[in-house]
Amino acid sequence: MDRQRCRTLKVLENRPVGQSEPASRFFELVLEWPGWSRWTPGQFVMVRPDWGAELTWARPFSICRADERGLVVFYQVVGRGTERLARVAPGEEIAVWGPLGRGFAVEEDTPTLLLAGGIGVAPFVGYALAHPAPEKLHLVFGHREPLARYPFAAFPAPVAKENWHEQNPGDLQSFLARVREQVAAHAASGLVLACGPLPFLRAVQAMARDTGARAQISLENRMACGVGACLGCVTPDADGHRVQVCTHGPVFWSDAVNLDPEKPS
């Protein structure tokens, strides 16, 4: 076993993407290569800068890309942890453990639909780059911020890609209609993979159920440990058992989990 899976990695780059204002919310973080022997797109890492004790947990991020040049994470600043992460300078060291969890299915011969909402596009970059037949891939990407803030250009050329910029009321509906159309198109002999906000995943789950498509969705439950120990990140599976998203997921077959919000008891 690789007992070095928790590493202290040097930051190579950490910079805002697609904008120049100081108030940037989208960042690309490049870390020195952790020397992994193996990883799967859709897996994630826990990341913890040396930020002291006030913030207790590390933060989970999808692996955006990983190769000899480095481990790349793509993140959006949404709260205290990501704010502090955005202030980390190249040369500083941060704790990283992973690759964690179960990634997306890769099926060389299957037309594969990639459904991404917002920052949920991150893991698909690595997915497309690692895929043996990228021409089988079709990305449908919905986003609110300008396209340049996301790693959209990073997809290899053979991938068919389209983006839907939600700016006006109604744009979301058009995007979801397009998603539904494409899920239906992939229902018979394709594979559907989705990553994005929970309401979006719920919609995709329903579409897959309705059309019979084989679909996988990637969940982003709040995580304290990332390794299956704290039982903080659980989601009910299809049988109603609560399973850890960090180890049983984050990628699940869409019919294997129950995404309805649990009622506080």
């Binding site: 207790t56 947990w57 506080p264």
Partner: protein, 306 residues
């Protein structure tokens, strides 16, 4: 100078070092085996188990707080028999102390659990959780009343045979010494303290509690001062070894608890801040003892000038 002696002698149990991991924060140990050598730990306490499997509380179950966290997992576990069948055979129990953490809703049920677990050669000790704030029945209620605490302790001790019994105390009480005495008087071999402090967090935008269970247990560095105080009070009240728990994150913290009188410690929330925390501690403790000129933990233990 020779390497400091980190070993700890406890009733019916010798640890190679004072570093155990705390129940509920280290899974069944297996989750952490890629981050370090389980056998290098003094021991680890398994996730709390009950007779029947439990699904625990609904989501959300955890919330981050200033220098700490809240949890209301609600003792989700696969049940003692499944643990015995599926987990114990995979653990390096000959090389390190594997402690079972027991939860039940009645003294009788606690007794039944004790019978099951004490019979297992893999289990070095039983830790009785009478202090969980996250379950509706039993849990902290047993730990908040000396009489109940005594009854539960007795029920477990009577059925534990030679397996030593650790009673885990709650800080959510007016007089922790009284609970400690009740446990001691009813056969506890050791005490561990503390379990979490009852707390709460809310989401202002949604106007909801951050935990589905509303209340949860506060852990992490935030509670270290309370844990140190409890260990000190308990050590002065009873003549049993105490295992210190609460906010321990580094070698210095460990030695502070030993200084106050703890025999060993458990690492909880710090396992989340870095999964190799516990594995790094024995070496860091030895280095710090070296720096301070302390040869053995016995030399330091309980020497606080107070």
């Amino acid at each position: 100078m020779s390497a400091p002696d980190l070993s700890v002698r406890l009733p019916g149990l010798t640890l190679k070092n004072p570093v155990l991991t705390a129940s509920g924060t280290f899974g069944y140990g297996l989750e952490f085996s890629v981050y370090g050598d389980l056998a290098s730990l003094g021991g680890f306490v398994l996730k709390g188990m009950s007779l029947a499997p439990r699904e625990g509380n609904p989501m959300p179950r955890v919330a981050e707080t200033a220098c700490g966290m809240l949890n209301a997992v609600g003792l989700q576990n696969v049940g003692a028999e499944a643990v015995i069948r599926e987990k114990l055979p995979r653990l390096p129990w000959r090389e390190t102390a594997v402690v079972a953490n027991l939860y039940a809703t009645s003294a009788d049920e606690f007794g039944e659990l004790a019978v099951l677990l004490a019979a297992r050669p893999e289990i070095a000790a039983l830790e009785v959780n009478i202090s969980c704030p996250n379950v509706r029945h039993g849990g902290a209620a047993f730990g908040q009343d000396p009489e109940q605490a005594g009854l539960v302790t007795r029920a477990v001790k009577d059925r534990a045979g030679k397996t030593p019994v650790i009673v885990k105390l709650s800080p959510n009480v007016t007089d922790i010494a009284a609970i400690a005495r009740a446990a001691a008087d009813n056969g506890a071999d050791m005490l561990s303290c503390i379990n979490t402090l009852t707390g709460m967090a809310v989401d202002l935008e949604r106007r909801t509690p951050r935990l589905a269970n509303v209340f949860g247990g506060l852990s992490g560095p935030a509670i270290k001062p309370v844990a140190l105080r409890c260990v000190h009070q308990v050590r002065r009240a009873v003549d049993l070894p105490v295992i210190g728990v609460g906010g321990i994150a580094c070698a210095r913290d460990v030695l502070e608890f030993i200084l106050v009188g703890a025999h060993a410690v458990q690492i909880g929330t710090a396992n989340f801040t870095r999964p190799d925390t516990a594995f790094r501690l024995p070496g860091e403790i030895a280095a710090l003892m070296d720096k301070l000129g302390i040869q053995s933990l016995d030399e330091l233990r309980g020497t606080l000038k107070a």
